[in-house]
Symmetry: D3
Subunit: 313 residues, 6 copies
């Protein structure tokens, strides 16, 4: 396959890509053209179709298309100028090639995640986590495939799993340092804290905010799922249920970040620190890795409200 990250100026391209965006614009002279954004797992590229009359079949956003054209440079970026387009047919392309995916092995991460469930001692809490992460095949399959964000850190397949696992690692470490922490509550809350994103964001290839996501948000969505499973567990302690829910709704740490309650227990606070630490250090890592600046300064970043810098000696 001819990956987008390998396109070079002047090349001729005949390949299947995912069409992430399609706009119909007009030139100053009044002629219509298409402005497209094409994607594979290695990145995105802009494409133009200047002549819509011949060789250009119908297609929509978020469909796979077979394109034929040439690589040009415009304003110091590469661009495809396309002569022919048709819809790809199933079998002609492998969806995995088109969707950014975690660099870590998904099954290995999932196995490691389950070791945390094994460490939960209180039977009903353990059962509650198993109902999602062990027994519900459909949930497990969607959980493994989901991202943890639309565009920020972990915005790739397996990102939600990777983020959840990394938080569990941090939580385990915290629990060693501050032994007053109850790991049953903390691990269960960490496992559940972001699964609401599976309804807040649609699955790949779209990976965009849903109506439910915008109206309710992942912090609210997950509560209903937990309530449903709790009802299936006889005599599930109300105190435990409220504590786990409290950890989940307070994990953004502050009201102004969308948590309706601030952390009131050490488990809730630990979960918030784990989430914030992984979110920020992972974002910083991705920014450093993806930067193509020559010098050490990457430029001002909204999330850090600061210019940031590569470490060099």
């Amino acid at each position: 396959m001819y990956y987008i990250s390998e396109l070079r100026e002047g090349d001729q391209v005949v390949e299947h890509y995912l069409c992430k965006q399609k706009q119909v614009l007009k030139t100053r002279a009044g002629k219509s053209y298409y402005s497209l954004k094409l994607q594979d797992k290695t990145g995105c590229v802009d494409a133009k179709v200047w002549d819509l009359n011949t060789g250009i079949d119908d297609f929509n956003e978020n469909e796979y298309i077979k394109v034929e054209g040439q690589v040009l440079t415009f304003q110091s970026s590469l661009q495809l100028s396309l002569r022919r387009i048709r819809r790809s047919q199933e079998g002609e392309y492998d969806p995995k090639e088109y969707i950014p995916t975690s660099s870590r092995n998904i099954e290995e991460m999932y196995s490691e995640l389950k070791t945390y469930i094994d460490q939960i001692k209180e039977p009903s809490i353990k059962k509650l986590t198993e109902k999602f992460f062990v027994e519900d095949k459909d949930f497990i399959s969607r959980f493994k495939a989901h991202s943890a964000a639309k565009t920020m850190h972990h915005s790739y397949m397996g990102g939600l799993l990777e983020h959840t696992l990394c938080i569990l690692n941090l939580c385990e470490f915290y629990a060693k340092q501050y032994p007053i922490i109850n790991t049953d509550i903390l691990y269960a809350s960490a496992l559940f804290h972001d699964i609401g994103k599976m309804s807040e964001l649609s699955g790949f290839p779209e990976n965009d905010y849903t109506d439910e996501g915008q109206l309710l948000g992942h912090i609210i969505i997950v509560l209903q799922w937990i309530d449903e499973k709790i009802k299936e567990i006889p005599n599930f302690s109300v105190k435990i249920a409220n504590h786990i829910k409290h950890c989940i709704i307070s994990h953004h740490g502050q009201l102004e970040y969308g948590s309706p309650k601030k952390p009131q227990t050490i488990e809730a606070l630990a979960l918030h620190f784990a989430d914030n630490t992984d979110a920020k250090l992972r974002t910083f890592t991705e920014l450093l890795s993806n930067s193509d600046e020559d010098g050490p300064w990457i430029g001002w970043q909204k999330i850090f409200d600061s210019n940031i810098r590569k470490t060099t000696f």
Copy 2:
């Protein structure tokens, strides 16, 4: 009955009161005494028991007790000096006399509230509200008896009903002024918006924050109840359910006031304005009514971050 608001210095008192608070303190000389707070529906008064040896039976906070003693003045406030105390027995006192209650007729308010349900046109939304406010006798009875706050506005029996009705009145008026508003969504959301307080605050005579109230808050608590009832209604529209839930969770208007989402629809915004308007104008009314200042200035009020003033000509 000898109401607390009618106590006069020098009077002898033999009466049943609700003991809201009980502390065991010691005098400088090392002698133990009780410091109590007694309540009836007309107000509260401090009471002291200087001699614990004779005539003072066992009793706890939030119990009704029969007291015998004298009214004194201390630091310009009235105070009871008690010689005898025993637990009241059921039948000796009428609980209604001890708990602050709405000045409006509860059944009349409730009938008026149901007229809003009658106006809901969409059958499944109407059904959802009926499942709470028409069919669930236990819910209705507790709803009528609940307050809308621990100490602020509407912190009396029937306060939740009175506040909900007043918001419905405002919503109805808004809908006339801004006809783009959908009254089915708005009335249903207004009916549900604060019922979570029925678990956030314990019932009278305690009327204090519960564990669940502190950990989750009324905005979260109500969502589970609604989900349960929705499941009983076949084919309830997900879009409608999300819209009503959105109105509820955003009704505080801002993230920093504990809403995990800001209002995104005109119904959500209207509900927020109705809630805020009633909360503030009702609080202002209560402050003016309860003030015993001679002059027009009531003093600095935290909720308004301002000194406030009675209107006089």
Copy 3:
């Protein structure tokens, strides 16, 4: 008349429009051209004059001009390409056709507004309002013709009257719900609260901030007018005057929104709620009505700091 809202690509146009904006720009090739914004009561359209040599007479911003040209599409918006322009002469055009105007009948709104004056009981307050809204013909005529904003809600002829009346309606409703409110003070303050906008914004067709508006603001401007009229009323109570002025200067509710005092009386607070409620719900209504999005989401709105959504079932 050929309304702007009815222009279609390819049409030839010969019509009088109001020229809201006129810029002289140059093409890359160095040739001067005009970029205009033309307006009638149905909307605005961009226009270009590529050839300035023949058929293009002198004209200025905020003048009426007769134009001749063709409707094109550029970047998915309509645009006029003009061949001829001359100043329109009085009588050739009806100014009412060019200025956005309230959809409600102005005289009916004005009659309704005066019923609130009739309800004021205290004679000197009633007299004060009459001096503006009954006796001052010039004031009345300008008041009816003014907008309540440059671009936000009620930014059309009659908008100031419509906004004021809507606030009076809300105030009347509040006074029923919270009878401690003094309607004499509240109605008078509501009538006066925004009339300073008659000097803060110039009249139509300009409807833009004046020097006085920028330096002082409508909250300050109105005070001088009220002082002048009060002097003509013998023995006008200083206490009443200060109260009405307090309601006016505090009606933005918070210092950071330009009120030099926060509301300290229930009438001042009620006026603030009425103003804020109408401003926000009216803006929301206008955004929903004017949106041409296909889906329910209208996009992020600065005034609500949120994406907003049409209500659909």
Copy 4:
């Protein structure tokens, strides 16, 4: 006279003082007593009257009284224990001895202030300032006697004059450093900027917020006075009037400090800096001068949100 600053433990006192505060309290044993705050120009002292039966005539707050008693120490502060009190009669006391007064000569400051009026070149601006500070004998007399604050900096007789003069000095210096500043506008605005305090605060001995002061504030009060005088000056430029008013209303610098507009001209900004600099450096001076701490640290000060420190080598 026996000044309060000279009281020593054990002394017998027979003297006239101003009674700033009078409370009727009760001892634990139920006996009424008076708790007073007595003042002269050197400071304040607490006084108690334990026996109200003999030798204690009627008197009110803010009256002068002749007291007889002894100086004691309570909780490491001095306190008067009084046996006899009667109202002082006019002539028995010199009011100047009881009211804190500027340490600078008032007439000298006033002469210096008038030199700034002499420097104003534009005739109508000069005339406007003269109408207050040269022609209006009553205004001049009250202006000289007023404070600039209730308790903060310059809260003494002549304080308003001293503050105004100090600001004029700073403005003159700024104008030398930044010659683009127009001194006519700046001096006039500086002269007027705080005169509204003459109605915001009552005169001495009370020196407390008035109703008008609380409802409107000194920034609003002054505008009406200026409008009245401007009307007496033929053809006073509207542009100049608006500019001077803008400087006055924006002199607190930020909306959240009660200015309805931020400074938009360099004269408005310069006035704000002069006002803020004098307010803060004068407050700091007074805190250092009045502190009786042994060490260099004065303690946390709300106005500076910081602990502050005397300068020592």
Copy 5:
């Protein structure tokens, strides 16, 4: 030894304690008495000396004294009523008994801390840390004995070492999770980040802010020390020096928390997260451990701006 935590009402006490506070007050009757705060490593207790005439020798704050008296209860707290006091002589008391000390073994923690120096690879960075933590015996001895705070978390002997070590543990864990982190920079910065507290706070038994601490703060103080040592290392890289200093000055994370720069490198950000995590989770642990509340709620805590709760099942 008779520890303060073991005092019981009615006991007679003859023991050496550290006098943390000494005030001379007067009774209502005008008689002087001492109000003291006595401390040993198990806690603090109030003490009164009602009769200053006999048996009470001279002594000052922060001296060790031998006291003789009885344990009473006042306002539900224990209190010592002392009859005799004299200064303790060296040798009569063991200072370690009077100063709160880390529960962990100081030498073991110190050995573990040095393993991080061993892991630093870049020779000049390693040398820089050794100059403090290996070669400077006086520094090492004071570092081991210092607290990390006056009253918050780690406010005991060895607290600075314990906090530093815990941060190094967290940093090591972060470096494993986010391998882009440079551990040489991170470990060195972590070792140095709070050593300025050794001059910001005086040593035990005082453990209070110094003048230098208040005027400059620990973030500034440490920079000079590092500069001095760097000069002793030939050719120390300016880039590395600036990076380490940047990590130190930005470790509070935000300007409003006293960092003059925000973290701009991943090492600076990681250090901030480690510091914040340990500070908050350690504080939470101490609050839970020290609470003597019966129920799960500990009460509102300023540092968390929230009520906090023990975890119970």
Copy 6:
């Protein structure tokens, strides 16, 4: 010399300029061209090189180049279209012509600055300032040549000197008005307060943030320099050193503006006011002087968060 401020449309230009910026872009047709920013002391101009093949030698940013071309107008701004470019050789150009420079005489300002050193009485403080401003020729020469900012006020050669002198003038005036101020501390702190900018910003012609400037900032950089000089002065008082450093680190006035401590002494506060006053009034002056608006309004300015206005009568 043909100054940039004197370029007129249509002119032919052959001149040496400083190349501040050089970008290689491509036309829509894929042809590379240079987009340059050229500078002399009178301003900046955009330049384009459309044909890179002949007559265009190699050159870099921040080099002097000799250009040949024509003045055009594009989007109502002037632009150079260049045909030939070569590197200028030393001697062909006078660097002073290319760098914006203070309009005041540098040596006169410097002499005036030294009079403040003469007024310092405490010998060691005087010595400390002399070590920089009298004895260190290299420092003096760089100090005179430096700017006080990259783009804001005083962003020209001599700007740092001019800003420092203006602050000394203000400090001298403050000290007269508030005699409690210690001028030795204040003058020394004022002299040092911004010299860290000599390493925060590189020298001209670059005048841009350095790595050290971004990582540490001028407030931190200066401390090390002062420490070094203090060590050369025997027995320099620690108290004085801490006080001067405190004034320097707190001169931004608030933590959120990058000061790690708020001003705690009157000298620190006075320095902050002097710095802020000069920064804002100087910026305002420059904005008014440089504006080419026809009317009085200059437009919204981020630094003032407001539209600003020229003063006209």
